[in-house]
Assembly symmetry: C2
Homo-oligomer: 193 residues x 2
Amino acid sequence: MTTATRQRILETAAQLIHRQGYNRTGIQEILQAAGVPKGSFYFYFKSKEDLGLALIEFFGAFWRQQAEAVLDDESQPPLVRLERFFAGFQEYFGQQGCAGGCPVGNLAQEMGDLSPAFGQKLCQAIDFMASRVARVLEQALRAGDLPPGSDPAALAYFIIASWQGALIRMKACKDLAPLDNFQRMVFGRLLAG
Amino acid sequence: MTTATRQRILETAAQLIHRQGYNRTGIQEILQAAGVPKGSFYFYFKSKEDLGLALIEFFGAFWRQQAEAVLDDESQPPLVRLERFFAGFQEYFGQQGCAGGCPVGNLAQEMGDLSPAFGQKLCQAIDFMASRVARVLEQALRAGDLPPGSDPAALAYFIIASWQGALIRMKACKDLAPLDNFQRMVFGRLLAG
């Protein structure tokens, strides 16, 4: 019961904050949308910042889940998995009307300069995102699907950055073309021999 | 005088909003920091959104100025100019303690889903940023410094996205390493033959 309520607050906060930003979203609004009594917030979270930090883990868990479903599917070659991984997110953003963007990137933009605790946790979240991409690139390198001497970790950070930047343009332009361009440049050029 | 006051409001708003975000920054705070009487804001701007839209042009003008100083310096080969262009911004972010990030990217994250007027103007600003990079890449292609068949416009959008994403990680991690990685991946890999 307790855990279920905490989870409902987190899920509602994730939706609202993904849609309208952390600073624009108040605790009252979250509790009302979640159908949780006002007084009980501080039973689950010490502060709004505490909720925000828990949200970063919540978003990270979503990335991990997708990674386990697609990136770890060893029935497919490594680079095919990676392409499908981003194509899956692209399909999601198509369904969402090109809204939201990367929740971790959004929080980094909003909170990176305002809270060292946020910055540190967001930095770790990006490290984790890149580490999952790097693991697939290591497999591709061992399989001979990447040019010899490729640096999987450096490529992975660069790919995550390109993805987050493509999502920024998607969000401004309300168009999936930036994500198409990401796929074309990453798989047709950056990772091509 | 009128133009000077409007410019002072814009410059102050640019600094405050770059540091703490659009939604966290109030009109009163901007006017107080600019030393402009409260009542006079609406003489220069119709609304906070009107100021925000003018800010996008203000940030775009800064990009244009840097582009004219560095990207148009035909005494240097095109790709050397491009590398210096981003190195100049990297030096700036080093001086700023890795704060701020891309002001256009920040506004896209904050406002892309909340205001169609913002979204449209930010989309145009990113188009403009990419167009200046594409122009240098066209020159590099003609000079034989890029692999034949390279698409300057597609590469330019991808480079801008990678840059904005690298700035997100810089801001979260308070570290210039993401910008070093950007330079290495763009000039050592993406654009290399």
